[in-house]
């Protein structure tokens, strides 16, 4: 997993946020673009089927715009703060429509080019197994792992997003991964 400490302490990001606080339109646009792929990937996985992930990200950024004066550089940093907002947006949609989008509904995508066909096939098969095992985890396990690997957040950042201590998040992650391994073994032997 990539370390996110660098992002948290990134002076460029801090400068952008500082400019954004002052109402700098270009800074806001850069922050939007900076966070967009990860916010979108998370929203795509978490939103109910009839909600637009792109709109959820726009909603998140618009709320961030409104609340920026209250943002403080502590705990998880700016990205964790944005994910915390997006998580609330997603929860509001889930409250309105309990049917979370099953992972299996997401389209299967081709393996990245560049490998031998046999390697691609093996990787695709392994990814398929992983996705199916992942889909059978509890929602809380999935959310935590999605924040880690789709949102690319550190355990400390995830702790900020979900309002828990970093140690508790690490422990929950270990248990979630243990459950994922167990589901994987079940899938492999099925």
């Amino acid at each position: 997993m990539p370390s996110n400490d660098a992002r948290h302490d990134d002076p460029h990001l801090r400068a952008l946020v500082q400019r954004a606080r002052a109402g700098d339109q270009a800074a806001w646009e850069l922050l939007y673009r900076h966070a967009y792929p990860r916010l979108l990937a998370y929203a795509r996985r978490r939103l109910p089927g009839d909600a637009s992930p792109e709109d959820a990200v726009l909603e998140t950024m618009t709320r961030a715009l409104e609340k920026i004066d209250r943002f403080r550089w502590r705990d998880g940093g700016f990205d964790a703060w944005l994910f915390g907002i997006l998580r609330l947006v997603v929860l509001e949609h889930q409250r309105a429509d309990r049917r979370a989008r099953p992972v299996a509904e997401l389209p299967e995508r081709a393996a990245p080019a560049g490998d031998e066909p046999a390697e691609q096939a093996l990787r695709a098969e392994r990814h398929g197994l992983l996705r199916r095992a992942f889909a059978r985890l509890s929602d809380s396990d999935r959310e935590l792992l999605e924040l880690r690997v789709v949102g690319e957040l550190s355990a400390e950042e995830v702790a900020t997003v979900v309002g828990r201590r970093a140690g508790a998040v690490r422990m929950a992650q270990t248990r979630a991964l243990d459950r994922l391994r167990a589901k994987l073994r079940e899938s492999e032997h099925a």
């Binding site: 997993m1 109402g23 339109q25 806001w28 646009e29 939007y32 673009r33 967009y36 792929p37 979108l40 990937a41 795509r44 996985r45 909600a51 637009s52 792109e54 709109d55 959820a56 990200v57 726009l58 909603e59 950024m61 618009t62 709320r63 715009l65 409104e66 609340k67 004066d69 209250r70 947006v89 509001e92 949609h93 889930q94 409250r95 309105a96 429509d97 309990r98 997401l106 389209p107 299967e108 995508r109 393996a111 990245p112 990787r123 392994r126 990814h127 398929g128 992983l130 996705r131 992942f134 792992l145 999605e146 880690r148 690997v149 789709v150 992650q173 270990t174 991964l177 994922l180 391994r181």
Partner: protein, 226 residues
């Protein structure tokens, strides 16, 4: 743990493989966001300038045309059209005299948008409902003695219901949950970032304590507020 890190990496690759394209926001949403930034800047500029104090609320009007508030507080559905309208509304409201508060301390007065009866499904008066616009959204004051105590774990939930709401395709926003007190009184104040003009029906349902956040229980009271 190395094994955990390896599995996380593998899971990241597996989940990213179906994450889809769109590494950039599309131009239409980007434009909507730019307008929202411009609206925020305009509002900040107007707030910095001296303004006349807000007019006191009229004495308990049945309904009052709502003052424009920052539109992103009251966004109902996430559509581009809504976002564009939100930005336009916010620009329009920049010079409006509204006592806005971005913190947890709502202005005590606000603007009354609805003050009237809330009714049982058969139409009988069951209590009173008042909705005020405050800076952070709306307060909902409900007073009724007509709600029976529920089994332990169950609760009542207040919803703002929009057009077309139906099972399977809900269009509603929860304003919160409550219990009657032991004497059977339900005098509660809830807060919700919702616009009654867009969600014009307030509905109370009795919900089972099953952890399902969707509205699954029967409607027990209703008021048309928008």
């Amino acid at each position: 743990m190395p094994d955990d890190e390896r599995l996380l990496d593998e899971l990241a690759a597996a989940l990213r493989a179906d994450a889809g394209p769109h590494a950039e926001p599309d131009p239409q949403r980007l434009a909507a966001f730019r307008r929202a930034v411009a609206a925020r800047n305009a509002e900040a500029a107007s707030t910095a300038a001296p303004a006349s104090p807000p007019a006191p609320p009229a004495p308990a009007p049945r309904r009052r045309r709502r003052l424009a508030a920052p539109a992103w507080l009251t966004r109902p559905r996430l559509t581009v059209g809504t976002a564009l309208a939100a930005a336009a509304l916010a620009i329009g409201s920049a010079l409006a005299v509204v006592a806005l508060d971005d913190g947890g301390d709502a202005t005590p007065a606000g603007v009354v948008e609805y003050a009237g009866a809330i009714r049982l499904p058969d139409g009988a008066d069951a209590g009173s409902l008042e909705i005020r616009e405050i800076g952070i959204g709306r307060t909902v004051d409900l007073r009724t003695d007509a709600l029976p105590l529920l089994p332990r774990g169950d609760y009542y939930e207040v919803w703002f219901v929009g057009p077309g709401d139906r099972p399977g395709r809900p269009n509603r926003i929860s304003a919160g949950t409550f219990h009657p007190d032991r004497a059977g009184r339900s005098n509660v104040q809830l807060k919700a970032a919702v616009d009654p003009a867009l969600y014009p029906t307030v509905e109370i349902t009795a919900e089972p304590g099953d952890g399902n956040p969707a509205a699954t229980g029967p409607e027990v009271m209703r008021a048309e507020v928008g």
